[in-house]
Symmetry: C2
Subunit: 117 residues, 2 copies
Amino acid sequence: MNNDKCGCRIVHQDKVDQAKAHDLGPATTEGISTLFKACGDPGRLRIVYALLRQEMCVCDLAALLDVSESAVSHQLRLLRTMGLVANRREGTVLYYRVVDKRLAQLIDLAGLLQARE
Amino acid sequence: MNNDKCGCRIVHQDKVDQAKAHDLGPATTEGISTLFKACGDPGRLRIVYALLRQEMCVCDLAALLDVSESAVSHQLRLLRTMGLVANRREGTVLYYRVVDKRLAQLIDLAGLLQARE
DNA sequence: TTGATATATGATCAGATATTCATACAGCAG
DNA sequence: CTGCTGTATGAATATCTGATCATATATCAA
């Protein structure tokens, strides 16, 4: 990857080594960035935010976001696959909910951070 | 957008209305999801995480991530554009830093959330 | 000035992603 | 069983994203 030779590499090698020592492990990095990516889409963020308050079915979410039910279903599959949401069947209707309510804290904190700029 | 017809829409209309009332505004939604998206790439997440500890130049980051300096520069431009990082020039070297240290809390919290699954 | 270093930037392209469309499936009513 | 509703899923398409390459810029040194 890195075929450039740069003086900083020699001068700042200790800094790079320290950073490597404090770096997140590959699995952790992947996990965290995947979680962020899940909330990095406006549609999915709204889905998660809504499901934090109350469970909703695919049709409700489609009405809320004003997109097709198929599109919502695809997004829900992503969120389901990564364990962020789960569902409960009642007849033909599937009610979705957020598994870990602490996601609310994450979104609130993000709201604080972006409000400053 | 929504040309499907579904009975839930009538039955759960109050639920959808409530969700709409509690929904994040368009600007807030965009802002938060953009912040999440910034940390939703493993490379950028590692950059931000490293810069939270100490300022580093492009070359250092390239060595840390083992990618080209050009790739790092492009990522830094994104982070700079959205105000997450800033730089300081010293000769020909640009030292980058994270503007809002509270980003550490966000990443820590995300780490807790994904550790459970 | 010239040259070297560190970084920025634009163009391009491959891969990822999201929506749409069509279809399939599960549960219920009849 | 048949038909209907709500949802899932696969394929195709269009868009977005990230890396690479080439080139440009800024600072310093000689």
